[in-house]
């Protein structure tokens, strides 16, 4: 479904040059839920943004659904690929009502029956019609993230890119959102590419996952291996160890693998 081949992304030049993604290749099958974990600043969001067409410069090949992608994406592409951002407070326009936020994609894509579609999608994310004309600041973080998911769903995409969709939410809301994402996937058969720092979330949500470090892909593994600890790369094992909780002595053993 998503084929990334030799993707490299460079930001800045001269002293400020940074190779954010370095010859990254990955294949995500249709209907799969694929996790992306790794060091902070290792280029996970950048990979997602490159797939989403939010970056101007990258090299390599990205194909979605067999079709090779260029720099500029068509409207049809966005009917197929949508994204949910990490920060529920930053991803909804503060001066638009929920109704406007959800109608906007419909208007751009010239779809009819907007009222009904907005109401349906609100129901799908378990928010009643009473939310329709509120402003984002009248919603809690979890409710906002539901709206962000609803916006991603409303065009009925095949792929949803999820950039740390629950890291700003507390555990009880996270559980609701993850259950919701699970239901959507079983009902609609969409493909997920999910970035998360929480290995518990990855183990719960994903079939397979990849580990990234300094722009490079270092390992792809089955999520089941998280439970057994059967990971091949030392950095992956260090991540797994660190996810068990804080231990001052353990921190001193961390190596720059």
């Amino acid at each position: 479904m998503i084929d990334i081949d030799n993707l490299s992304v460079v930001f800045g030049d001269g002293e400020n040059r940074v190779l954010a993604v370095d010859q990254f290749s990955l294949r995500v099958e249709a209907g799969e839920s694929f996790g992306l974990v790794g060091e902070s600043g290792s280029g996970k969001s950048t990979v997602l943004r490159a797939v989403a067409g939010l970056l101007d410069t990258w090299t390599g090949n990205i194909a979605v659904d067999g079709a090779k992608l260029g720099r500029k994406r068509s409207r049809d592409f966005y009917a197929k690929v949508q994204m949910v951002f990490q920060d529920p407070f930053g991803s909804l326009h503060p001066k638009h009502t929920i109704d406007r936020i959800l109608s906007e994609p419909l208007i751009v894509h010239d779809l009819d029956n907007r009222e009904a579609r907005v109401r349906d999608v609100l129901e799908q994310v378990q928010l009643g019609p009473s939310f329709r004309f509120r402003y984002p600041h009248q919603l809690s973080g979890g409710q906002r993230q539901r709206i962000a998911i609803a916006r991603a769903l409303i065009l009925r995409p095949r792929i949803i890119l999820l950039d740390e969709p629950t890291s700003a939410l507390d555990v009880s809301i996270q559980a609701e959102i993850l259950n919701l994402l699970d239901d959507i996937r079983t009902q609609l058969g969409v493909t997920y590419l999910l970035v998360s720092h929480d290995l518990g979330v990855v183990a719960h949500m994903c079939n397979r996952f990849a580990v990234m470090r300094q722009g490079k892909l270092i390992e792809v593994a089955e999520s089941a291996h998280l439970g057994t600890g059967a990971l091949s790369h030392a950095y992956s094992r260090q991540l797994l160890l660190a996810s068990k909780g804080y231990d001052r002595a353990l921190v001193d053993t961390f190596a720059d693998l």
């Binding site: 067409g53 592409f77 009917a79 994204m83 909804l92 001066k95 994609p105 009473s130």
Partner: protein, 300 residues
């Protein structure tokens, strides 16, 4: 002040329509504004100015355009509240009619300069690259001259007359708005909600007008209302130098100018229009300050 059901409708957490949501937001803004007594004073001044302009023929006791020569330079009295000028015209009536000119000027400047500045600033900020460089250099070039001097130059080039004065002022007023709009655009252009807007497949125009401009408008409104005082003064300055309104149309600035030769003996001729200018400028300043509290996105 307003009935309880209406208030509940406005403040509803679950509005039923876009209109209700917008009105609720507006009402909340009004509540914040109304908490500030100085801002309310400013609003009262503005309302009085508008009332004065609309009902000028009924309010003014005398003809503002012509007077009797035997009434020349009379001090304030029961018949002429604020005295008369050297043509025997009632100064109070001229001030009342002058309100129309003042409103006309600031209204026109606001609806021309602000949108121009908004468009240039947001385009520069969003598009970036050479477009930004070019637009901002032009803006800087305008900003390099003192506003009054530049307005004077344009007014002199265009010739006297109210429309030309307005045009001159508008041409010189947009650059600060462009700067503000650009600064505001820079703070939002990397935001996730704009990335989300791009991911709907929307084109640059839709993003510029539908998503970026709404974020810039509040600070622009504040700035424009704070600028109104300055615009009134520039208009008065142009009038004072004979580049504004053609006589005998009453305009506060030119009224001050006409009285300047007799400022010691017949002080009322230029003092009262001067006070009118001060009060209205102050009013706009107070409104601007009040709006700042209401619209400041960081205050929320």
């Amino acid at each position: 002040m307003i009935s309880a059901p209406f208030r509940n409708w406005l403040l509803s957490d679950t509005p039923d329509s876009r209109f209700q949501a917008r009105m609720g937001r507006f009402y909340l803004g009004w509540l914040t504004f109304a908490k500030n007594p100085l801002a309310l004073l400013g609003l009262i001044i503005l309302v009085l100015l508008i009332v004065m302009a609309i009902f000028a023929p009924w309010i003014s006791p005398h003809n503002p355009l012509s007077g009797e020569l035997e009434d020349r330079l009379l001090p304030p009295s029961g018949k002429f509240f604020l005295g008369t000028d050297e043509n025997g015209r009632d100064i109070f009536s001229r001030i009342v009619f002058g309100a129309r000119t003042t409103l006309y000027i600031i209204g026109l400047v606001a609806v021309t300069a602000a949108p121009i500045g908004l468009l240039i600033g947001t385009t520069a900020g969003y598009v970036g690259g050479w477009v930004e460089t070019a637009l901002m250099r032009i803006t800087d070039a305008f900003l390099a001259f003192p506003k009054l001097i530049l307005a004077l130059a344009f007014a002199a080039a265009l010739g006297p007359g109210l429309e030309n004065a307005v045009l001159a002022i508008a041409i010189t007023s947009w650059p600060p708005y462009a700067r503000i709009a650009r600064a505001e655009t820079l703070t939002v252009r990397n935001s996730d909600y704009l990335a989300a807007a791009r991911m709907t497949g929307a084109g640059p125009f839709r993003i510029l007008f539908g998503h970026i401009m709404p974020m810039c408008v509040p600070s622009l409104i504040v700035r424009v209302s704070l600028d109104m005082a300055g615009i009134i003064l520039i208009a008065a300055g142009l009038g004072f130098l004979g580049l504004g309104v053609a006589p005998p149309q009453p305009e506060w600035g030119s009224m001050v100018a006409e009285g300047r030769s007799q400022i010691l003996e017949q002080w009322w001729v230029c003092t009262y229009p001067g006070i009118a200018i001060c009060i209205v400028s102050l009013g706009f300043n107070l409104i601007g300050d009040g709006l700042r509290d209401v619209l400041d996105p960081r205050g929320k």
